[in-house]
Symmetry: C2
Protein backbone atom coordinates (compact mmCIF):
# COMPACT_ATOMS: atom_id res chain seq x y z
CA UNK A 1 0.00 0.00 0.00
CA UNK A 2 1.53 3.23 -1.20
CA UNK A 3 0.14 6.02 0.95
CA UNK A 4 1.13 9.55 0.08
CA UNK A 5 -2.08 11.18 1.28
CA UNK A 6 -3.26 10.31 4.76
CA UNK A 7 -6.63 8.51 4.56
CA UNK A 8 -9.70 10.01 6.22
CA UNK A 9 -12.41 8.03 8.00
CA UNK A 10 -14.16 7.72 4.65
CA UNK A 11 -11.13 6.75 2.58
CA UNK A 12 -9.48 4.20 4.82
CA UNK A 13 -9.58 0.93 2.89
CA UNK A 14 -10.91 -1.76 5.20
CA UNK A 15 -11.82 -4.75 3.02
CA UNK A 16 -8.78 -6.30 1.25
CA UNK A 17 -6.68 -3.41 2.53
CA UNK A 18 -3.67 -4.68 0.57
CA UNK A 19 -5.50 -3.56 -2.59
CA UNK A 20 -5.82 0.02 -1.37
CA UNK A 21 -3.76 3.02 -2.44
CA UNK A 22 -3.76 6.74 -1.72
CA UNK A 23 -1.05 7.48 -4.28
CA UNK A 24 -2.07 10.51 -6.40
CA UNK A 25 -0.37 9.01 -9.47
CA UNK A 26 -2.61 5.94 -9.24
CA UNK A 27 -5.69 8.15 -8.78
CA UNK A 28 -4.78 10.39 -11.72
CA UNK A 29 -4.22 7.43 -14.03
CA UNK A 30 -7.62 5.92 -13.13
CA UNK A 31 -9.41 9.23 -13.81
CA UNK A 32 -7.49 9.90 -17.03
CA UNK A 33 -8.49 6.48 -18.38
CA UNK A 34 -12.20 7.20 -17.77
CA UNK A 35 -14.88 8.80 -19.92
CA UNK A 36 -17.50 8.80 -17.17
CA UNK A 37 -17.73 8.77 -13.39
CA UNK A 38 -20.65 7.76 -11.18
CA UNK A 39 -21.79 10.58 -8.92
CA UNK A 40 -23.82 9.78 -5.79
CA UNK A 41 -25.83 12.43 -3.96
CA UNK A 42 -29.09 12.70 -2.07
CA UNK A 43 -32.30 14.70 -2.34
CA UNK A 44 -35.76 14.48 -0.85
CA UNK A 45 -36.40 11.26 -2.79
CA UNK A 46 -33.34 9.45 -1.45
CA UNK A 47 -29.92 8.65 -2.82
CA UNK A 48 -29.09 8.90 -6.52
CA UNK A 49 -26.19 7.58 -8.59
CA UNK A 50 -25.81 9.26 -11.97
CA UNK A 51 -23.18 8.72 -14.68
CA UNK A 52 -21.47 11.94 -15.79
CA UNK A 53 -18.79 12.63 -18.37
CA UNK A 54 -15.65 13.60 -16.49
CA UNK A 55 -12.12 14.81 -16.97
CA UNK A 56 -9.16 15.90 -14.84
CA UNK A 57 -7.21 19.12 -14.70
CA UNK A 58 -4.45 19.12 -12.09
CA UNK A 59 -5.81 18.02 -8.74
CA UNK A 60 -9.48 18.35 -9.64
CA UNK A 61 -12.06 16.14 -11.34
CA UNK A 62 -14.48 18.11 -13.53
CA UNK A 63 -18.04 17.50 -14.72
CA UNK A 64 -20.48 19.77 -16.50
CA UNK A 65 -24.23 20.03 -16.79
CA UNK A 66 -27.15 22.20 -17.65
CA UNK A 67 -27.69 25.10 -15.22
CA UNK A 68 -31.23 24.04 -14.52
CA UNK A 69 -30.58 20.42 -13.68
CA UNK A 70 -31.61 19.17 -10.27
CA UNK A 71 -28.33 17.32 -9.95
CA UNK A 72 -26.17 20.39 -10.59
CA UNK A 73 -28.10 22.30 -7.93
CA UNK A 74 -27.83 19.51 -5.39
CA UNK A 75 -24.11 18.99 -5.98
CA UNK A 76 -23.50 22.66 -5.26
CA UNK A 77 -25.15 22.27 -1.86
CA UNK A 78 -23.92 19.00 -0.41
CA UNK A 79 -21.04 16.56 -0.15
CA UNK A 80 -21.10 13.69 -2.59
CA UNK A 81 -19.15 10.63 -3.65
CA UNK A 82 -17.66 10.19 -7.11
CA UNK A 83 -16.56 6.73 -8.23
CA UNK A 84 -14.74 5.42 -11.30
CA UNK A 85 -14.23 1.72 -12.01
CA UNK A 86 -12.34 -0.07 -14.77
CA UNK A 87 -12.77 -3.86 -15.00
CA UNK A 88 -9.58 -5.46 -16.33
CA UNK A 89 -10.43 -9.13 -16.23
CA UNK A 90 -12.20 -12.10 -14.72
CA UNK A 91 -10.04 -14.10 -12.35
CA UNK A 92 -10.86 -17.81 -12.48
CA UNK A 93 -9.69 -19.71 -9.43
CA UNK A 94 -9.87 -23.45 -8.78
CA UNK A 95 -12.62 -22.99 -6.17
CA UNK A 96 -15.85 -21.10 -6.68
CA UNK A 97 -15.37 -18.69 -3.77
CA UNK A 98 -11.84 -17.64 -4.78
CA UNK A 99 -13.02 -16.25 -8.11
CA UNK A 100 -12.39 -12.53 -8.39
CA UNK A 101 -12.02 -9.66 -10.82
CA UNK A 102 -9.05 -7.53 -11.78
CA UNK A 103 -9.98 -3.87 -11.61
CA UNK A 104 -8.90 -0.31 -10.91
CA UNK A 105 -11.31 1.86 -8.94
CA UNK A 106 -11.23 5.31 -7.38
CA UNK A 107 -13.62 6.82 -4.84
CA UNK A 108 -13.56 10.58 -4.23
CA UNK A 109 -15.39 12.37 -1.41
CA UNK A 110 -16.06 16.07 -1.03
CA UNK A 111 -18.14 18.89 -2.40
CA UNK A 112 -18.12 20.17 -5.95
CA UNK A 113 -17.38 23.85 -6.39
CA UNK A 114 -18.73 25.90 -9.29
CA UNK A 115 -16.11 27.01 -11.80
CA UNK A 116 -16.47 30.76 -12.39
CA UNK A 117 -17.07 32.34 -15.81
CA UNK A 118 -13.38 32.98 -16.43
CA UNK A 119 -12.54 29.38 -15.62
CA UNK A 120 -15.25 27.73 -17.73
CA UNK A 121 -13.52 28.18 -21.06
CA UNK A 122 -10.15 26.58 -20.14
CA UNK A 123 -11.98 23.82 -18.25
CA UNK A 124 -14.20 22.87 -21.19
CA UNK A 125 -11.26 23.15 -23.56
CA UNK A 126 -9.41 20.66 -21.38
CA UNK A 127 -12.44 18.36 -21.68
CA UNK A 128 -12.27 18.54 -25.48
CA UNK A 129 -8.53 17.86 -25.32
CA UNK A 130 -9.29 14.77 -23.22
CA UNK A 131 -11.84 13.53 -25.77
CA UNK A 132 -9.95 14.36 -28.97
CA UNK A 133 -6.52 15.96 -28.63
CA UNK A 134 -6.11 18.81 -31.11
CA UNK A 135 -9.79 19.07 -32.03
CA UNK A 136 -10.43 22.29 -30.15
CA UNK A 137 -9.15 24.47 -33.00
CA UNK A 138 -11.29 22.74 -35.65
CA UNK A 139 -14.83 23.03 -34.31
CA UNK A 140 -17.09 25.99 -33.74
CA UNK A 141 -16.29 27.13 -30.21
CA UNK A 142 -19.05 27.68 -27.71
CA UNK A 143 -20.87 30.98 -27.98
CA UNK A 144 -21.88 33.16 -25.06
CA UNK A 145 -25.35 31.65 -24.88
CA UNK A 146 -23.99 28.08 -24.78
CA UNK A 147 -21.47 28.95 -22.09
CA UNK A 148 -24.12 30.78 -20.08
CA UNK A 149 -26.43 27.75 -20.08
CA UNK A 150 -23.73 25.40 -18.82
CA UNK A 151 -22.42 24.89 -15.32
CA UNK A 152 -18.94 23.46 -14.84
CA UNK A 153 -18.22 21.85 -11.48
CA UNK A 154 -14.98 20.56 -10.02
CA UNK A 155 -14.15 18.49 -6.97
CA UNK A 156 -10.75 18.48 -5.30
CA UNK A 157 -8.89 15.16 -5.32
CA UNK A 158 -8.08 15.67 -1.66
CA UNK A 159 -10.12 12.91 -0.01
CA UNK A 160 -9.86 9.89 -2.23
CA UNK A 161 -8.90 6.25 -2.21
CA UNK A 162 -8.05 3.80 -4.95
CA UNK A 163 -8.46 0.06 -4.90
CA UNK A 164 -6.91 -2.20 -7.52
CA UNK A 165 -6.42 -5.89 -8.15
CA UNK A 166 -4.23 -7.39 -10.82
CA UNK A 167 -2.54 -10.70 -11.46
CA UNK A 168 -3.44 -14.37 -11.17
CA UNK A 169 -5.98 -16.13 -8.96
CA UNK A 170 -5.11 -16.80 -5.34
CA UNK A 171 -6.17 -20.32 -4.59
CA UNK A 172 -6.05 -22.03 -1.24
CA UNK A 173 -3.02 -24.31 -0.99
CA UNK A 174 -5.20 -27.41 -0.74
CA UNK A 175 -7.05 -26.53 -3.97
CA UNK A 176 -3.97 -26.23 -6.21
CA UNK A 177 -4.12 -29.87 -7.30
CA UNK A 178 -7.73 -29.64 -8.52
CA UNK A 179 -8.30 -30.35 -12.23
CA UNK A 180 -9.87 -26.95 -13.03
CA UNK A 181 -8.39 -24.46 -15.49
CA UNK A 182 -7.22 -21.38 -13.59
CA UNK A 183 -6.10 -18.00 -14.83
CA UNK A 184 -7.30 -14.62 -16.01
CA UNK A 185 -9.72 -13.72 -18.81
CA UNK A 186 -8.61 -10.17 -19.70
CA UNK A 187 -10.99 -7.32 -20.48
CA UNK A 188 -10.11 -3.93 -21.89
CA UNK A 189 -11.68 -0.98 -23.64
CA UNK A 190 -11.25 -1.22 -27.41
CA UNK A 191 -11.60 1.51 -30.02
CA UNK A 192 -13.51 0.65 -33.18
CA UNK A 193 -13.38 2.03 -36.71
CA UNK A 194 -14.52 5.69 -36.80
CA UNK A 195 -17.93 6.28 -38.40
CA UNK A 196 -18.06 9.55 -40.34
CA UNK A 197 -21.33 11.47 -40.23
CA UNK A 198 -23.47 11.31 -43.37
CA UNK A 199 -22.57 14.30 -45.48
CA UNK A 200 -19.18 14.77 -43.85
CA UNK A 201 -16.69 15.35 -46.66
CA UNK A 202 -13.83 16.42 -44.41
CA UNK A 203 -10.71 14.26 -44.37
CA UNK A 204 -10.26 12.48 -41.06
CA UNK A 205 -7.77 14.35 -38.87
CA UNK A 206 -4.88 12.50 -37.22
CA UNK A 207 -6.75 11.76 -33.97
CA UNK A 208 -9.54 10.09 -35.96
CA UNK A 209 -7.12 8.14 -38.16
CA UNK A 210 -5.25 6.92 -35.09
CA UNK A 211 -8.40 6.06 -33.12
CA UNK A 212 -8.91 2.40 -33.97
CA UNK A 213 -6.67 0.00 -32.08
CA UNK B 1 -39.80 6.25 -25.53
CA UNK B 2 -40.94 2.71 -24.94
CA UNK B 3 -42.66 2.61 -21.58
CA UNK B 4 -43.84 -0.74 -20.32
CA UNK B 5 -43.40 0.05 -16.63
CA UNK B 6 -44.91 3.25 -15.32
CA UNK B 7 -42.15 5.58 -14.10
CA UNK B 8 -42.07 6.70 -10.48
CA UNK B 9 -41.05 10.17 -9.29
CA UNK B 10 -37.49 8.87 -9.15
CA UNK B 11 -37.43 7.15 -12.52
CA UNK B 12 -39.11 9.73 -14.70
CA UNK B 13 -36.46 10.76 -17.23
CA UNK B 14 -36.39 14.57 -17.32
CA UNK B 15 -33.21 15.56 -19.17
CA UNK B 16 -33.17 14.42 -22.82
CA UNK B 17 -36.37 12.49 -22.17
CA UNK B 18 -36.26 11.06 -25.71
CA UNK B 19 -33.30 8.96 -24.54
CA UNK B 20 -35.27 7.36 -21.72
CA UNK B 21 -36.81 3.90 -21.61
CA UNK B 22 -38.66 1.79 -19.06
CA UNK B 23 -38.66 -1.30 -21.27
CA UNK B 24 -37.62 -4.37 -19.20
CA UNK B 25 -35.86 -5.88 -22.21
CA UNK B 26 -33.59 -2.82 -22.46
CA UNK B 27 -32.92 -2.95 -18.72
CA UNK B 28 -32.13 -6.67 -18.77
CA UNK B 29 -29.72 -6.29 -21.68
CA UNK B 30 -27.83 -3.48 -19.93
CA UNK B 31 -27.48 -5.53 -16.73
CA UNK B 32 -26.51 -8.72 -18.57
CA UNK B 33 -23.71 -6.87 -20.39
CA UNK B 34 -22.23 -5.63 -17.10
CA UNK B 35 -19.67 -7.14 -14.74
CA UNK B 36 -20.12 -4.47 -12.09
CA UNK B 37 -22.71 -1.97 -10.90
CA UNK B 38 -22.22 1.16 -8.80
CA UNK B 39 -24.21 1.07 -5.57
CA UNK B 40 -24.98 4.31 -3.74
CA UNK B 41 -26.07 4.37 -0.11
CA UNK B 42 -25.60 6.56 2.96
CA UNK B 43 -24.23 6.15 6.45
CA UNK B 44 -23.20 8.52 9.23
CA UNK B 45 -20.26 9.72 7.12
CA UNK B 46 -22.40 10.71 4.15
CA UNK B 47 -23.11 9.16 0.78
CA UNK B 48 -21.02 6.36 -0.69
CA UNK B 49 -20.76 4.91 -4.19
CA UNK B 50 -19.14 1.49 -4.34
CA UNK B 51 -18.53 -0.80 -7.33
CA UNK B 52 -19.89 -4.32 -6.84
CA UNK B 53 -19.85 -7.39 -9.05
CA UNK B 54 -23.43 -7.99 -10.18
CA UNK B 55 -25.58 -10.39 -12.11
CA UNK B 56 -29.26 -10.85 -12.97
CA UNK B 57 -31.67 -13.68 -12.32
CA UNK B 58 -35.19 -13.04 -13.55
CA UNK B 59 -36.42 -9.67 -12.37
CA UNK B 60 -33.71 -9.14 -9.76
CA UNK B 61 -30.18 -7.77 -9.76
CA UNK B 62 -27.87 -9.63 -7.38
CA UNK B 63 -24.70 -8.70 -5.52
CA UNK B 64 -22.77 -10.51 -2.81
CA UNK B 65 -20.44 -9.54 -0.02
CA UNK B 66 -18.89 -10.51 3.24
CA UNK B 67 -21.36 -10.78 6.14
CA UNK B 68 -19.39 -8.35 8.23
CA UNK B 69 -19.10 -5.55 5.71
CA UNK B 70 -20.50 -2.16 6.58
CA UNK B 71 -22.01 -1.88 3.15
CA UNK B 72 -23.92 -5.17 3.35
CA UNK B 73 -25.39 -4.11 6.69
CA UNK B 74 -26.38 -0.66 5.41
CA UNK B 75 -27.97 -2.03 2.24
CA UNK B 76 -30.17 -4.31 4.32
CA UNK B 77 -31.52 -1.29 6.22
CA UNK B 78 -32.13 1.42 3.64
CA UNK B 79 -33.13 2.24 0.09
CA UNK B 80 -30.29 2.67 -2.35
CA UNK B 81 -29.59 3.41 -5.98
CA UNK B 82 -27.79 0.99 -8.31
CA UNK B 83 -26.40 2.26 -11.60
CA UNK B 84 -24.77 0.58 -14.59
CA UNK B 85 -23.22 2.48 -17.49
CA UNK B 86 -21.69 1.30 -20.75
CA UNK B 87 -19.92 3.91 -22.90
CA UNK B 88 -20.26 3.02 -26.59
CA UNK B 89 -18.51 5.91 -28.28
CA UNK B 90 -17.51 9.54 -28.45
CA UNK B 91 -19.79 11.64 -30.62
CA UNK B 92 -17.88 14.39 -32.40
CA UNK B 93 -20.10 17.22 -33.62
CA UNK B 94 -19.13 20.27 -35.66
CA UNK B 95 -19.55 22.57 -32.67
CA UNK B 96 -17.96 22.10 -29.28
CA UNK B 97 -21.22 22.12 -27.30
CA UNK B 98 -22.95 19.50 -29.47
CA UNK B 99 -20.34 16.87 -28.67
CA UNK B 100 -21.84 13.91 -26.85
CA UNK B 101 -21.32 10.27 -25.97
CA UNK B 102 -23.14 7.15 -27.03
CA UNK B 103 -24.03 5.06 -24.00
CA UNK B 104 -26.45 2.66 -22.33
CA UNK B 105 -27.23 3.28 -18.67
CA UNK B 106 -29.64 1.87 -16.12
CA UNK B 107 -30.62 3.30 -12.73
CA UNK B 108 -32.44 1.07 -10.24
CA UNK B 109 -34.06 2.29 -7.00
CA UNK B 110 -35.24 0.22 -4.08
CA UNK B 111 -34.05 -1.82 -1.16
CA UNK B 112 -31.95 -4.96 -1.34
CA UNK B 113 -33.37 -8.03 0.33
CA UNK B 114 -31.23 -10.77 1.80
CA UNK B 115 -31.35 -14.08 -0.07
CA UNK B 116 -32.04 -16.91 2.39
CA UNK B 117 -29.78 -19.92 2.88
CA UNK B 118 -31.73 -22.09 0.45
CA UNK B 119 -31.54 -19.40 -2.21
CA UNK B 120 -27.82 -18.64 -1.88
CA UNK B 121 -26.58 -21.67 -3.77
CA UNK B 122 -28.66 -21.20 -6.95
CA UNK B 123 -27.98 -17.45 -6.86
CA UNK B 124 -24.19 -17.85 -6.68
CA UNK B 125 -24.31 -20.61 -9.29
CA UNK B 126 -26.09 -18.18 -11.59
CA UNK B 127 -23.27 -15.70 -10.93
CA UNK B 128 -20.67 -18.30 -12.00
CA UNK B 129 -22.75 -19.06 -15.08
CA UNK B 130 -22.71 -15.32 -15.92
CA UNK B 131 -18.92 -15.19 -15.56
CA UNK B 132 -18.03 -18.44 -17.28
CA UNK B 133 -20.87 -20.57 -18.65
CA UNK B 134 -20.34 -24.24 -17.83
CA UNK B 135 -17.58 -23.69 -15.27
CA UNK B 136 -19.73 -24.48 -12.23
CA UNK B 137 -19.19 -28.23 -12.60
CA UNK B 138 -15.39 -27.94 -12.85
CA UNK B 139 -14.39 -26.03 -9.75
CA UNK B 140 -14.51 -26.89 -6.07
CA UNK B 141 -17.96 -25.73 -4.96
CA UNK B 142 -18.31 -23.52 -1.93
CA UNK B 143 -18.25 -25.32 1.41
CA UNK B 144 -20.54 -24.62 4.33
CA UNK B 145 -18.06 -22.22 5.92
CA UNK B 146 -17.70 -20.20 2.72
CA UNK B 147 -21.43 -19.98 2.18
CA UNK B 148 -21.99 -19.04 5.82
CA UNK B 149 -19.54 -16.11 5.57
CA UNK B 150 -21.20 -14.67 2.48
CA UNK B 151 -24.33 -12.57 2.17
CA UNK B 152 -26.21 -12.54 -1.12
CA UNK B 153 -28.48 -9.57 -1.73
CA UNK B 154 -30.99 -8.93 -4.48
CA UNK B 155 -32.94 -5.88 -5.56
CA UNK B 156 -36.17 -6.03 -7.58
CA UNK B 157 -36.05 -4.43 -11.02
CA UNK B 158 -39.38 -2.75 -10.27
CA UNK B 159 -38.36 0.92 -10.08
CA UNK B 160 -35.82 1.49 -12.78
CA UNK B 161 -35.09 3.67 -15.78
CA UNK B 162 -32.72 3.31 -18.69
CA UNK B 163 -31.18 6.04 -20.76
CA UNK B 164 -29.39 5.40 -24.02
CA UNK B 165 -27.91 7.35 -26.88
CA UNK B 166 -26.71 5.91 -30.17
CA UNK B 167 -26.06 7.17 -33.66
CA UNK B 168 -24.45 10.20 -35.24
CA UNK B 169 -23.91 13.73 -33.91
CA UNK B 170 -26.81 16.17 -33.95
CA UNK B 171 -25.46 19.45 -35.21
CA UNK B 172 -27.33 22.69 -35.45
CA UNK B 173 -28.47 23.34 -39.01
CA UNK B 174 -26.25 26.39 -39.33
CA UNK B 175 -23.14 24.41 -38.33
CA UNK B 176 -23.45 21.68 -40.97
CA UNK B 177 -21.26 23.53 -43.45
CA UNK B 178 -18.33 23.91 -41.04
CA UNK B 179 -15.06 22.25 -42.11
CA UNK B 180 -14.78 19.99 -39.06
CA UNK B 181 -14.79 16.18 -39.24
CA UNK B 182 -17.94 14.86 -37.60
CA UNK B 183 -18.90 11.34 -36.63
CA UNK B 184 -18.57 8.69 -33.95
CA UNK B 185 -15.44 7.18 -32.41
CA UNK B 186 -16.72 3.78 -31.21
CA UNK B 187 -15.78 2.18 -27.90
CA UNK B 188 -16.50 -1.36 -26.78
CA UNK B 189 -15.36 -3.93 -24.27
CA UNK B 190 -12.77 -6.28 -25.76
CA UNK B 191 -11.68 -9.69 -24.51
CA UNK B 192 -7.95 -10.42 -24.55
CA UNK B 193 -5.97 -13.65 -24.74
CA UNK B 194 -6.55 -15.81 -21.64
CA UNK B 195 -3.59 -15.99 -19.24
CA UNK B 196 -3.26 -19.42 -17.61
CA UNK B 197 -2.12 -19.49 -14.01
CA UNK B 198 1.48 -20.61 -13.42
CA UNK B 199 1.41 -24.32 -12.77
CA UNK B 200 -1.93 -24.83 -14.47
CA UNK B 201 -1.56 -27.90 -16.67
CA UNK B 202 -5.27 -28.25 -17.44
CA UNK B 203 -6.38 -27.85 -21.06
CA UNK B 204 -8.40 -24.70 -21.60
CA UNK B 205 -12.14 -25.48 -21.61
CA UNK B 206 -14.36 -24.20 -24.41
CA UNK B 207 -15.37 -20.97 -22.63
CA UNK B 208 -11.67 -20.09 -22.23
CA UNK B 209 -10.80 -21.00 -25.82
CA UNK B 210 -13.69 -18.90 -27.09
CA UNK B 211 -12.96 -15.93 -24.80
CA UNK B 212 -10.72 -13.78 -26.99
CA UNK B 213 -12.52 -11.74 -29.60
Amino acid sequence: MNTTTAPSTRTQVKRSANRGSHDPAVLHAIIDAAWVCHTAFTDEHGVHCIPMACWRLGDYLYIHGSNGSRMVRRLQEQDCCVTITHVDGLVLARSAFNHSMNYRSAVIYGRFETVDEAGKRPALEAFMEHLAPGRQGEVRPGNDKEYAATTVLRIALAEAACKTRSGPPEDDEEDLHLPAWAGVLPLREARGAPVADAGCGIAAPAYVQRWQD
